[in-house]
Symmetry: C2
Subunit: 604 residues, 2 copies
Amino acid sequence: MPRRYLNLTPLPDALAAMRRAFPPLDHTETVPLRLAVGRVTAEPLYAEYSVPQADIATFDGYAVKSADTLGAQDQRPLPLGDCARINTGEILPPSFDAVVMVEDTWDEDGMPWIRKSAAPWQHVRHAGEDIRAGELVLPKGHQVRPFDTGALATYGITRVKVRSVRVGIIPTGSDLVPLGVVPAPGQTVETNTLMAEAYLTRMGATCRRYGIVPDDPDLIQRALEEAVAENDLVILSAGSSAGSRDYSSDVVGALGEIIFHGIAVRPGKPVLLARVEGKPVLGMPGYPVAAQTVLREVAGDLLRWWGLSPVRGEELDVRLSRKLASDLGFDEFIPVSVGRVDGTCWATPHPRGGGIQMAVVRANGYLHVPAGREGIGAGEEVRVRLTVPPERIARTLICTGVRYPALNELGNCLSDAGYLLHCCNASTMGAVLALRAKTCHAASVCIPEIGAAWNDLVLRYLPGVDLLRVQVARTELGIASSDALDASAVASLRFVNRPKGSAARVFLDAWLEEQGIDADRLAGYEHEVRTPGAVAAAVSNGFADAGVCPAAMAREAELWFTPLGYETCDLLIREELAGDEAVARLIQAARSPEFQEHLQSLKR
Amino acid sequence: MPRRYLNLTPLPDALAAMRRAFPPLDHTETVPLRLAVGRVTAEPLYAEYSVPQADIATFDGYAVKSADTLGAQDQRPLPLGDCARINTGEILPPSFDAVVMVEDTWDEDGMPWIRKSAAPWQHVRHAGEDIRAGELVLPKGHQVRPFDTGALATYGITRVKVRSVRVGIIPTGSDLVPLGVVPAPGQTVETNTLMAEAYLTRMGATCRRYGIVPDDPDLIQRALEEAVAENDLVILSAGSSAGSRDYSSDVVGALGEIIFHGIAVRPGKPVLLARVEGKPVLGMPGYPVAAQTVLREVAGDLLRWWGLSPVRGEELDVRLSRKLASDLGFDEFIPVSVGRVDGTCWATPHPRGGGIQMAVVRANGYLHVPAGREGIGAGEEVRVRLTVPPERIARTLICTGVRYPALNELGNCLSDAGYLLHCCNASTMGAVLALRAKTCHAASVCIPEIGAAWNDLVLRYLPGVDLLRVQVARTELGIASSDALDASAVASLRFVNRPKGSAARVFLDAWLEEQGIDADRLAGYEHEVRTPGAVAAAVSNGFADAGVCPAAMAREAELWFTPLGYETCDLLIREELAGDEAVARLIQAARSPEFQEHLQSLKR
């Protein structure tokens, strides 16, 4: 039976319905002070006693009665008759009301003498100066900071009643294997409950992860009943979609009342919220990036509503480096890398998709495109929420273009200097245009070493710009074929091709022209694949007879190889930005002996 | 033997000397993924395998060879001969190169039919789309975020090598008692190592707290030797000053080389840095606020230098609400409360002093006045570092003036609505002026119920301003005396007085006038004390014969009491700011039945 979402609820409506259905809990727990940091106080905390508990001396010297010292002058020194030796921090005896510093006295006739009268309460720290017994230390709803613990301990508070939410997280799916097991093809490591625990614990929730439950409605129901009994909120990971093996909505619907199923959010659409035994059960999609969105925007919102503390990054207004399409009617969340180039902060989007976890790992923030917007233009101002501390942005370098392995090593060199290299995927042309628009610090381009390619692809768009050019890789390209290539028989072969502008395509076109073959008549010429690996795979699996790919890939796939030429992968940096501290570091790293040695080692 | 600091090193010089003396460590430890959040990677992490490991279907349907489907049209449907049923997520068999969605087919003659050709690799997620085996996941020096754990687990990384710094923290002081013990007068609860652990652990350090060591050079030396052997950095809490019982510099000097002793920082001056067995030993002052400054500015800086991750609040540019004095030559750190009033962010300083921990607890940030500045004027723009998330500022309400207990209850009412009430100490006059300058949301004032006091103290400075006025307390004042007050003998009594502008002073002046007594000739009239409690204490301890204080205090001190009148404590809010969401909440809370009932209960 094919199932459907009843309807897609807009995100704001879904959150409002959730808040209506589940008013704040009043659950608390009492934790020792050491474990209170980051938790939210459930009641006001009052000082157990005054600090200081009594009047104390703030200098080493003598406790005196100030009235006895009246009239002491340079011309008329007085002896301190009724006095007591006192050290800093010691209690002032009740019969005295001032302290004279030892430096302001001298001994004569076995008595200390003074030349200056003491004001009442001079050099005395009054009882209760810091706090008085019973005074408020922390109000209700305060998130305890590390240094608050010192004050609480000083005031005699050793245990703290904090807000408590118990969250049970159940992973479901017959394809799941636990962390530490290498998944067979088609299996997935169970990671969503790990992320949920890491994220929600930092909001002050107490998380409990349950074992993996296979796709079986009875087993899911049993696990759910147990978790509902033991927790305040239950999260069911995966199975909330509408596929043939998605049992969450059936199971949850049988046990309780569904509040919404499916929200107009990307990624994160297949989310389910229900009330079971009066408690919220949240069905979370299995795709990890969709799960993150639901944890952040839905589960996080519920915990905030229940009085826990947000763990959200800061917001920053930036410009969008490229046009972004977005579906009207959907709230979209898009991972971006933010960097400041020549004084302007630019956000460059990473690929979207619930399964592309690396996009989130590579990003330092995300952009929320509200449902009412249909895409955003290049250069438009947008508000991004960061996933790193804002001060890190000034130390972030954006490299747009082709992601070459050598860039990892460059990133490591920069990391030693405290800088972060963010690589944002783009074609060579996209990278050159980003460098022209100054939306990146560096462009990573791949250029065929053929004819006027460099001029056509780079100089044409960056005329008169002084460029620092560092070669980070050089790759031999050629035709991989299932049999030895016979130029006279080429017209009868089925080819697989790469997109326009790619070096592989340029080499193929040049070679065809050289051979006098009409590209339009070549079988499969229009059959473009996205990666060089897909060329080798297509030939290897028999979908095509030939295609252009790197020599190393042809060798690995045990194909015949006909060399055509080299492509160079270069890092391009505008010299004019070298005054920027971060760019100077990038240039320094690119020219560093460590990095140059690494490049040499790649060539060996 | 009195000791002295050799000299006071300026803060920037001290930090530079520290960094020179202790280059970054290369210590690492390997932790399971769950414990890696917040830690900093010590080496790059690479994917163990590709994700997905093989090409997989992204829809339920049929695996096909795209070439077989060429030519299928509405007018010319084709049967799918060579095909295989496939579900979302399942592996595409190697002989196929596309997936046709089940919705785009129908069954006829026992075979699925199509009306549309399939493009190569349609509805297929390629092997390695998310990441390829051996590709970089996280660079070196990356602070692991909660959602990074999901990606790492997905890519087969279950343990992470992270940067490690072991910090040993030794509390010294014969006056110290451990947490949980009620200190006798003159004793102090040992809290500095608790704060150090809470703060430095959050930077990714591994902390070990040692037991309390009394002020005995031999015992301190033994503890220090043990801690140096077991850690990368040792912090000696207290004893780093130059007093007669401060042994840190002697002990440390005997074991190693002192790098600096005393830095030009307030609070935090008595800090000591030495090298013992090649490792840094940091002598930290015992006063808690001074200790916090040293942990943040010195220990924190060393850990950052060693590659751990900062836990610093965000910076915010604000205006200073009142003039602030500061000593030239000292870097000063001053706790402040920041709030946005009528569109402008204002920082109001709290009292300074190494022993006033409540100032830091009450504050939501701190102001760093560099050594080159001699004070800052009211209204000047300053940069504040927050100790709360910036988004909390919009929900912060600043109440300047007299801190009355009823304000705590008001704070609790506001906390339920998600707002934070910050009370900043000021005299009634200071509070009225803050309200006039719009540097606070509310002023808390105490006015004697006598003559034209209200007009003189409030209306004169806020003419024509519509004020919401909520009485939060009412106190009976009168003369507390050691014997029954005989009006005819008053001239012979020794008085203790309160400052000008205080209600107690106004009442005393009025009474003296009524009695025909010349204030100038009254003994002790010029003897001012800061708190009403100090009046009662002075009379009770025999330093004075009489003074004005609240009835309750006189009663508690078992003194005679001659009533003079009442003072009212009022909360004043500008009605014109009621459009501000936070102020509206404040007004709502002040008028709420809960708060009004609380006020009634105080009167009962």
